[in-house]
């Protein structure tokens, strides 16, 4: 029987174990690009003078600093530049921290700014900002290598575990909220959404047989359960070696379908980008077994040390 101190020791070991930073570096590259996608429209609006000033907003706290329109636009431009620099890996730590701060500033300016995809983006950026994600797949790493002082390609695993936790939580929380809602699990919500857009669905390229099926109430009794259980399967399946490839595949299909059927800002791109964190940290593996790793590979483990 394991004692609490032994369990704590195992957890500490898992969090601190040095692992390759390549997978989290690739996530950084992709999430940085998503950050640019998120910030560019807001920044263009701000440059044109279309800001939150003189508009309905609901700050979380009265003392939240509200920049004047010019400073706000400059801040957003800095955020775009930082997100781009973060993506390609120039001054990565500073760039990632700056991008996180700008996305966070915009997010928390008003309750009206808060959307799930933006919250997820902020959480992912925050974790990346705490990691050494610039030590690989970056201009920084390339320049350091050329200068003869390569950056350490390994780093403690805890940011990877945190990002995996956040990724699984997004699917789990969404699936759970639908599971316990009888309207959702019973199919009312999905059916009503399709019916409310019947003209658009009928005008789409979908075959009539499929359109009729989508508009059939009884179809949604099963389809909604399938959607909910898929989300829960993704949330749980990501954590086990045998189910991980299927969970990743389900998540990819899930995001592609959402992107084509709903307006979700950057959620689909972000969801796909963060899935990369479930690959082995080194990314060096048989490509068909990309997400099929038994455990997180690491720098050589001392003989007798516990493994997660």
């Amino acid at each position: 029987m394991r004692t609490p101190s032994a369990l704590l020791h195992r957890a500490d070991e898992a969090l601190a174990r040095p692992v390759s930073v390549r997978s989290i570096a690739l996530v950084r590259l992709l999430v940085g690009a998503v950050g640019v996608l998120h910030l560019v429209p807001v920044t263009i609006d701000a440059i044109r003078g279309d800001t939150f000033h003189g508009r309905f907003r609901q700050p979380y706290v009265s003392w939240y600093p509200e920049l004047d329109p010019t400073s706000y636009a400059v801040l957003l431009v800095a955020g775009v530049v930082a997100a781009a620099a973060m993506s390609i890996g120039i001054a990565t730590r500073v760039a990632t921290t700056t991008a996180t701060a700008v996305v966070g500033y915009h997010l928390f300016l008003s309750t009206t700014h808060v959307h799930n995809n933006r919250a997820y983006l902020f959480a992912a950026l925050l974790i990346l900002a705490m990691s050494r994600c610039g030590h690989a797949i970056s201009i920084d790493a390339w320049r350091a290598r050329r200068a003869g002082a390569p950056l350490d390609p390994d780093a403690p695993a805890w940011p990877i575990w945190l990002l995996r936790f956040e990724c699984a939580t997004v699917y789990g929380a969404s699936g759970l909220s639908k599971l316990i809602d009888p309207d959702w699990f019973g199919g009312t919500v999905t059916w009503a959404r399709v019916v409310s857009q019947e003209a658009m669905v009928r005008g789409s390229v979908l075959p009539d047989v499929f359109v009729d099926l989508l508009l059939d109430r009884s179809f949604h009794t099963f389809a909604a359960k399938f959607v909910v259980l898929t989300e829960l399967f993704i949330a749980g399946g990501l954590w086990w070696r045998r189910t991980r490839p299927w969970a990743v595949a389900a998540a990819v299909v899930f995001h592609v379908m959402i992107e084509f059927s709903a307006q979700v800002q950057v959620f689909s791109y972000l969801g796909l980008a963060v899935l990369v964190i479930w690959a082995p940290p080194s990314l060096r593996t048989d490509r068909w077994r990309m997400f099929h790793n038994r455990r997180m590979p690491s720098a050589p483990t001392p003989v007798g040390a516990p493994t997660p």
Binding site: T112, L162, F165, D183
Partner: protein, 151 residues
């Protein structure tokens, strides 16, 4: 050996960050079942509810003037943007859920009432809301802003 690069302080700091982050995130997920705006709760596509609202300015002399008409240089659609509130008189899907949508509407009414200083005749704003929760029969409710301070 706990960590190759880890001192005891570093190990404790790492625990604090990881446990703190996880606890905070799980707390947000639980809180989202009660919180008006569900921050970090990740409850996506929660409802198929629909709503619309006719909003009027109720003046000191009792007139009820629709806000679709500009007043004292103000336009509702310029003052209130996004979250389905720009054209509340058009039926919308409550994409974050009906409760959250109505919360935004209440906050928007209060904000407009408090941020239209050139308007010297409106006492308060009033919205007559028709809302249908997930295909259930539509219900009508009235929402009022706070009374404006007399000019």
């Amino acid at each position: 050996m706990v960590a190759r690069d880890g001192s005891r302080i570093r190990t404790r700091a790492r625990r604090l960050v990881v446990v703190g982050f996880i606890a905070l995130q799980l707390g947000f997920v639980i809180r989202a079942y009660q919180a008006p705006h569900q921050e970090f709760g990740y409850q996506m596509f929660p409802e198929a509810s629909r709503w619309r609202a006719d909003i009027v300015r109720v003046t000191d002399d009792g007139r009820r003037v629709p806000i679709r008409e500009p007043w004292f240089g103000y336009e509702w659609s310029s003052l209130v943007r996004g979250r389905g509130l720009t054209t509340p008189w058009v039926e919308h899907h409550a994409d974050s859920g009906l409760d959250r949508q109505l919360r935004f509407l209440v906050e928007a009414l209060d904000w407009v009432a408090a941020n239209t200083p050139d308007d010297d005749e409106t006492r308060y704003l009033e919205a007559t809301v028709e809302a249908s929760h997930n295909t259930r029969p539509s219900v009508t409710m009235t929402i009022r802003s706070r009374d404006r301070v007399a000019p």
